[in-house]
C-alpha cells in the first residue's frame, strides 16, 4: 500500500512520519486494517490451539488449565474488541464513509488520529498479557467473583476495555458529526449508501452503551484492587449486577459488528447485481433502526440461566424473538436485490453470497436460543458457540473480507482477485462448515463450551460417533481455515505489490468512492472540485434512463 500518491504538489513527509503523524482518514483506515488483521492473526492462532486441545480428552498441547483459559480469554477479547469492531467501524468506516458521502475528511481529523493510537496502545496492552506471568484468565466476559478472586491480572482486561472504549466513543462522535454536517451538497438522507446508515447506527449504539461497559469494568477494578464490594454478596454487593451491565453493552455490541457487515454486503450486492437495493427505506428505517431500537432490550437472553425473575426472562424471550422482524426485513432486502439482477461473480461477490448462507444459518439457529425453555439446556454448550460464530464472527469476518476484495482496487489500484483468492475463499468457506457443524450436533447433546476436557461425556454418542470424534473433525476444519487464511494474506500482500492493475471503477459502481476519486484517492479525496449531487442521484440507480 506504499503506492499512496499525493496530489496538488504536496511534498510527501518522509517515510514513517507520513503514517505515524497522519490525520488522513484513509491512512488511519489502513492503520486500523493492519492492527485488526494482526489481532485476527494472533487470536486465530489461539483458536487453533484451543481446537487442537479439544481434539482429544485430557490435556495434550497446552501447559496448564491456566494457560488454556488465558488463550480462551485472548481469543474472545481480541476477536471481538480488536478485530471485528475496529475492522468494521475502524477500517471500513474510516476509509470509505467520507468517500461515500463526498467529504474531504472526517469532521475532526486530529481526534481521529488520537482514536487510532488509543487502539494501538490497547493492542499492545492486550499483547503484553502473553509476557506477564499472571495473564488474565477470565474469558472475554470477565464475570466476578472469579475475575476478582483469580490470581490472573484482571487489570489488563479492564484497561484494554477502557482504551478501546475511549477510542470508539471518540470515533462515534467524529463520524456522527461527519455524516450530519459534511455530506456533499444535495445529498439527502435517502440517498446515503446503506453502509453509511449501518455505520451511523453502529456508532449510535457505541455512544449509548459503551459508558455502561466502562462503568461495569471500572467497578470490577475497584473490587479487585481497592477493596470495594460492588459485586461481593458477603458485603452487600451482587454478582449479577456485573452481568446485567456487561450484557447491556455487549449485546448491542453484537449489532455494532453485525450492522456494518450488513452495510458492506448491501453495497457489494447492489454493485455486483447492478440492481437497486430492494426496499431501501424499509431496510434503513425498519431494518437498521429497528435493530437499534430493540437491540437494547434483549440482553437478559444472555442471563437466561442465572435465576433472573421469570417475568423478565419471558419478556426478553418475546423481545429477542422480535429481533427476527428487523433482521428478516434486511434479509428480504438481500434476497430482493438479487431479483432481476445482472450478477457478476468475483471474489467479493463469492464472499457476499457465502454471507447470505451464514446469515440464514446463524440467524435461524438463534431462534431456539431466544426461548428460555430451550436455553436452559443449550446455554453454555457448543451449540451456542457454533451459533454465534456463524452469525457474528463468521458472517462479519466474511463480510469484511468481501469488503477488502471489493475495495482493494480503490485502496491499491490493483485487483486482489485471482486463482489464489478463489482457492482461499473455498478453503475458508469449507473450513468453517467443517469446524462448526459438528459443534452444533454435539452441542445439542450437551458438549460444553470452554472445556479442555470432556471426560464425563465420553460414554455419549451421536449417530454412533463419540464427542471426541466430532471434536476431531472440528479441529481438522480449523486447519483448513488456517491454510485458507494464510493463502489469503499472502495473496493480499502479493496483490498490493504486483497484482493486475485495475481501472478506476472496475465493478462499474455508481457509488461516489468509485465515480469521483482516484485509486487510491489523494489527500482531500476529490481533487480540486467539490462533489455535488443532484436530487435524483443515488448510489444504487443502475437501470434508470
Amino acid at each position: 500500500m506504499s503506492t499512496h500518491t499525493t496530489a496538488a504538489g504536496h511534498a510527501p513527509a518522509s517515510g514513517w512520519k507520513e503514517w505515524v503523524l497522519t490525520t488522513d482518514h484513509k491512512r488511519i483506515g489502513v492503520l486500523y486494517l493492519i492492527g485488526s488483521m494482526a489481532a485476527f492473526g494472533v487470536a486465530g492462532l489461539m483458536a487453533l490451539i484451543i481446537r487442537l486441545e479439544q481434539m482429544e480428552l485430557g490435556m495434550q498441547y497446552v501447559a496448564s488449565a491456566t494457560q488454556y483459559n488465558s488463550f480462551l480469554y485472548f481469543h474472545g477479547a481480541a476477536m471481538v474488541l480488536a478485530f471485528l469492531i475496529p475492522g468494521l467501524t475502524g477500517f471500513a468506516a474510516n476509509y470509505f464513509l467520507p468517500l461515500m458521502i463526498g467529504a474531504r475528511d472526517v469532521a475532526f481529523p486530529r481526534i481521529n488520529a488520537f482514536s487510532i493510537w488509543l487502539f494501538y496502545f490497547a493492542i499492545v496492552l492486550a499483547l503484553l498479557s502473553f509476557v506477564i506471568p499472571d495473564a488474565p484468565d477470565i474469558m472475554w466476559t470477565g464475570y466476578p467473583p472469579y475475575s476478582v478472586t483469580t490470581t490472573g491480572n484482571t487489570a489488563f482486561y479492564v484497561f484494554t476495555v477502557h482504551l478501546l472504549g475511549f477510542s470508539s466513543i471518540l470515533g462515534a462522535v467524529n463520524f456522527l458529526v461527519t455524516v450530519i454536517y459534511m455530506r456533499a451538497p444535495g445529498m439527502g438522507w435517502n440517498q446515503l449508501n446503506i453502509f453509511v446508515w449501518t455505520t451511523i447506527a453502529a456508532f449510535v449504539l457505541q455512544l449509548i452503551f459503551i459508558p455502561v461497559l466502562a462503568a461495569a469494568v471500572t467497578l470490577l477494578l475497584f473490587d479487585k484492587y481497592m477493596g470495594t464490594h460492588f459485586y461481593d454478596p458477603s458485603a452487600g454487593g451482587d454478582v449479577l449486577l456485573y452481568q446485567n451491565l456487561f450484557w447491556f453493552y455487549s449485546h448491542p455490541a453484537v449489532y455494532v459488528i453485525f450492522l456494518p457487515a450488513v452495510g458492506i454486503l448491501m453495497d457489494i450486492m447492489a454493485t455486483m447485481c447492478k440492481n437497486r437495493i430492494f426496499n431501501y427505506k424499509a431496510a434503513v428505517y425498519a431494518g437498521i433502526w429497528g435493530i437499534v431500537a430493540i437491540g437494547g432490550i434483549v440482553w437478559i437472553h444472555h442471563l437466561y440461566i442465572t435465576g433472573m425473575p421469570d417475568w423478565i426472562r419471558l419478556g426478553h424471550m418475546v423481545t429477542t424473538l422480535l429481533i427476527s422482524v428487523p433482521v428478516g426485513i434486511l434479509v428480504l432486502s438481500f434476497w430482493g436485490t438479487l431479483y432481476k439482477g445482472a450478477i457478476t461473480y468475483n471474489t467479493a461477490m463469492m464472499y457476499a453470497v457465502s454471507c447470505l448462507y451464514l446469515i440464514l444459518l446463524g440467524g435461524l439457529t438463534g431462534i431456539p436460543l431466544a426461548i428460555p425453555s430451550m436455553t436452559v439446556h443449550l446455554s453454555e454448550t457448543s451449540y451456542v458457540h457454533a451459533h454465534f460464530h456463524f452469525i457474528m464472527a463468521l458472517f462479519s469476518a466474511f463480510a469484511l473480507f468481501a469488503g477488502i476484495y471489493y475495495w482493494f482496487p480503490k485502496m491499491t489500484g490493483r485487483y486482489a482477485d485471482g486463482p489464489i483468492a478463489t482457492l482461499s475463499f473455498w478453503l475458508n468457506f469449507i473450513g468453517v462448515n467443517v469446524t462448526f457443524w459438528p459443534l452444533f450436533i454435539i452441542g445439542k447433546e450437551g458438549m460444553p463450551r470452554r472445556y479442555w476436557n470432556y471426560e464425563m461425556f465420553s460414554d455419549m454418542t451421536v449417530f454412533g460417533y463419540t464427542f471426541q470424534q466430532f471434536n476431531t473433525i472440528a479441529t481438522y476444519g480449523s486447519w483448513i481455515i488456517a491454510v485458507g487464511m494464510l493463502l489469503q494474506f499472502m495473496n493480499f500482500i502479493k496483490a498490493a505489490i504486483s497484482g493486475p492493475v485495475a481501472p478506476l471503477n472496475p465493478w462499474g459502481s455508481k457509488s461516489l468512492e468509485w465515480t469521483h476519486t482516484a485509486s487510491p484517492p489523494g489527500p482531500g479525496n476529490f481533487g480540486d472540485t467539490d462533489v455535488v449531487v443532484d436530487e435524483n442521484w443515488s448510489p444504487y440507480e443502475y437501470n434508470r434512463g
Binding site: 483459559n69 464475570y143 467473583p145 447492478k274 428480504l332 434476497w335 432481476k340 445482472a342 436452559v376
Partner: protein, 232 residues
C-alpha cells in the same frame, strides 16, 4: 408462501404439543426434559422449513440472474410507496406471528420447568471450586446426587465461592449457582438411570473436570442409600 409456511409449522406444533398430556409417565406430572425434546423438534422444523425455502430461492436467483456480459444492468423496478410499505408490513406480520407462536409454546414448556409441585423433595446444592455438595432433608451431606424414582425434586442451590452452573445434560436443564443468591431446578426423575452433573459456568482451572455422579434409583434403594450415607 410465508403465510403458508407459518400455518404449516403452526399445525405441526399444535399436533406435537397436544400430545403432551399423554406423554407424561410415572407420576402424571410434567416431565421437563420430555417437553424440551418436543419443543426442540418443533422449533427445528420451523427453522428448517424457513431456511430451506430461503436457500432454494437464493440459489435459483443466483443462477437465473447471472449476467451474460459485464455491462448488463439489472432490470428490477423501484417499488412504489404502497409496495414498499406492503413488503415491510406483511413480512413483519408473518415473522411476528411465528415469533408469538414460538413464544407461546416456549412459555408452556417454561411452566413445566419452573412450576414445582407441593410434594417435591427438597435437596440443597452447594457449589465449591471444584465440586458440588448435596444436603438432603434429614441433614445428610453427600457428594453424589441420588434421586428416588418418580419423586419430584427441587434443588435449592447456592455457591460458597465463585459462580458455577449446575448442568444436567441428561435432564436437559442447567441453572447458575451463585454466591449470595439461591436458585432452583425442578426435576421429575421418571426414568431409572445413571447420569452426571457438570459445571457449566466458567469457574477456574478445574472447571472442565468439575462433575458429580447423579443416579435415579427405586425408592427402597434410595432409602437404604440415604440411611447408609447418614451413618457413614
Amino acid at each position: 408462501m410465508r403465510k403458508l409456511l407459518s400455518a404449516m409449522s403452526g399445525l405441526v406444533g399444535t399436533v406435537l404439543l397436544s400430545s403432551q398430556a399423554f406423554a407424561a409417565e410415572g407420576n402424571g406430572l410434567a416431565v421437563p426434559n420430555q417437553s424440551w425434546e418436543r419443543l426442540w423438534h418443533e422449533v427445528i422444523m420451523d427453522i428448517t422449513v424457513i431456511g430451506v425455502i430461503m436457500a432454494i430461492l437464493a440459489v435459483i436467483m443466483l443462477i437465473k440472474y447471472k449476467a451474460s456480459s459485464p455491462d448488463q444492468l439489472g432490470t428490477a423496478k423501484k417499488l412504489t410507496t404502497v409496495q414498499s410499505i406492503a413488503w415491510a408490513l406483511i413480512p413483519a406480520s408473518v415473522f411476528m406471528a411465528d415469533d408469538f407462536f414460538l413464544a407461546a409454546n416456549g412459555w408452556t414448556v417454561w411452566n413445566d420447568y419452573r412450576r414445582v409441585p407441593e410434594n417435591a423433595m427438597e435437596i440443597k446444592v452447594t457449589g465449591y471450586q471444584w465440586y458440588f455438595e448435596f444436603t438432603y432433608e434429614d441433614g445428610t451431606t453427600t457428594s453424589e446426587l441420588v434421586l428416588p424414582h418418580n419423586q419430584p425434586v427441587v434443588l435449592r442451590m447456592t455457591s460458597e465461592d465463585v459462580i458455577h452452573s449446575f448442568g444436567l445434560p441428561g435432564f436437559r436443564v442447567k441453572e447458575d449457582v451463585m454466591p449470595g443468591r439461591i436458585t432452583y431446578i425442578y426435576l421429575n426423575p421418571v426414568e431409572i438411570r445413571e447420569t452426571f452433573v457438570q459445571c457449566a459456568e466458567f469457574c477456574g482451572n478445574d472447571h472442565s473436570v468439575m462433575t458429580n455422579a447423579v443416579r435415579v434409583v427405586p425408592q427402597a434403594e434410595f432409602d437404604a442409600w440415604l440411611a447408609e450415607a447418614a451413618n457413614g
